[in-house]
Symmetry: C2
Subunit: 257 residues, 2 copies
């Protein structure tokens, strides 16, 4: 939970700040004194939590696995595999029995609905496993990185479906908008080998950037690139900054949109 | 992967249909013959996959846990806990060491970005663990159920933050729109105890409906309520049907939007 949102959601009390570094038992005791939620507190006191052990990943290997598996597992599942196959091989232990298809349903902006690009929950599940109290910061950085960069960057050693000519900046982590902007630029439809290869390469990009951030975290060098979105403050609701990508020319009541 | 999208993504070959019921070794062998992706195939042949064991859940208990934990864990994390705490207690085994905070980062429409409501990836992770080849159908049904129903339905035995007067139909699984429509109807802002209690109750609703679907699956009675979105066909891109909720009065090039 980011500090900005946390503080406000909780009416001025930052529970994360309060509990950072506390063990599970102390957490349970603190919750009892703070909120009196005996059922929740008892459950929290004995919950198994992240982080799982991590070893630095080979970023190029992660990208190759993510690119190649896209064509059978699609965006979410292939990003998860790009990160989890090497962790299973390098770290073993709990990764050996982790159900690697746990997030396959998130492809196509969650079951094809065009909401958040499936690469991000695909990456998020692995971040959630290994990044501890930095998980949300890393996912937030990934959302920004996805939105701000000219993608896809990844160039496969062996192209599986089609050569492509264009990159695009989505300005948002939304599948519907991200895919649409790229399709318009490339001049191709959704059901084309070009669009598939683009999404496969973009999956490699997100998996690789996730590996870079997790490797930095493992080295003690991770510093969040972005603060949590201040848009809740600015607009009074969870939001991105690019209102017109969805709303057209203006949003009623939002100055400058 | 739904049949409609699967068939088209793969250019007419439905891999899910092809592989349904096949064991891991057969799957790997089939992939080698179908696509020649030796690296991906070798990895797939030995991947650990869902489903994990499941026992029918007490739907009311699931709702109560999800409502109560919202105020410290928020939407995604509390839905996951509403389902996983009882599974840990009833089934044990792998649930005892599953990192229950794996999806906490998805709150607020993924790290506060206002995309897909965090309750859905929160539920999705558990669905991904236990529902096997029905996982995507169940997540799709949850996306529809969230979008079409007048929520929140859940009435807490003990209200934690605030009484609320209104329900609303979001028409979409998007946090930004769902929360905004309800706030407008209730006449309150984002940083209010009313909005928090609304999201806590909605978390209970999604957790409870997930438990109902998973219980039905366990009884052999689950039948998908919705087909995969046909919008990719209709609009040529991953999309919902309510264009104007984002786009305003019309979408260029989309008849009837």
């Amino acid at each position: 939970m980011s500090e900005i949102l946390d503080k406000d959601y909780e009416g001025g009390l930052s529970r994360r700040q309060l509990f950072r570094g506390a063990g599970a038992a102390a957490l349970g005791a603190a919750l009892i004194s703070a909120g009196g939620l005996s059922l929740a507190s008892a459950a929290l006191a004995k919950e198994a939590a992240s982080p799982w052990p991590y070893k630095k990943l080979d970023v190029d290997e992660v990208g190759r696995i993510a690119y190649e598996n896209y064509f059978t597992k699609f965006c979410a599942g292939t990003v998860a595999r790009g990160l989890l196959f090497p962790l299973r091989d390098k770290v073993g232990g709990p990764y050996g029995s982790f159900p690697i298809d746990i997030v396959d349903w998130a492809h196509g902006g969650v079951a094809g609905w065009g909401t958040v690009c499936g690469t991000l929950p695909g990456a998020g599940i692995v971040v959630g496993l290994v990044a501890g109290d930095q998980a949300e910061n890393i996912v937030n950085d990934l959302m920004f990185w996805y939105s701000e960069n000219n993608l896809p960057i990844y160039k496969p050693a062996r192209v599986i479906k089609a050569a492509i000519a264009n990159r695009s900046v989505s300005g948002t982590p939304m599948c519907h908008i991200s895919v649409g902007k790229w399709m318009k630029k490339e001049g191709v439809g959704f059901f084309t080998p070009q669009r598939m290869d683009r999404c496969a390469r973009l999956s490699a990009d997100i998996a690789m950037h996730t590996a870079r951030l997790l490797n930095a975290l493992a080295e003690g060098k991770y510093v969040p690139s972005h603060k949590a979105l201040a848009n809740v403050k600015q607009f009074g609701i969870t939001a991105q900054l690019n209102c017109t990508d969805c709303h057209g020319s203006a949003v009623p009541g939002v100055p400058g949109s």
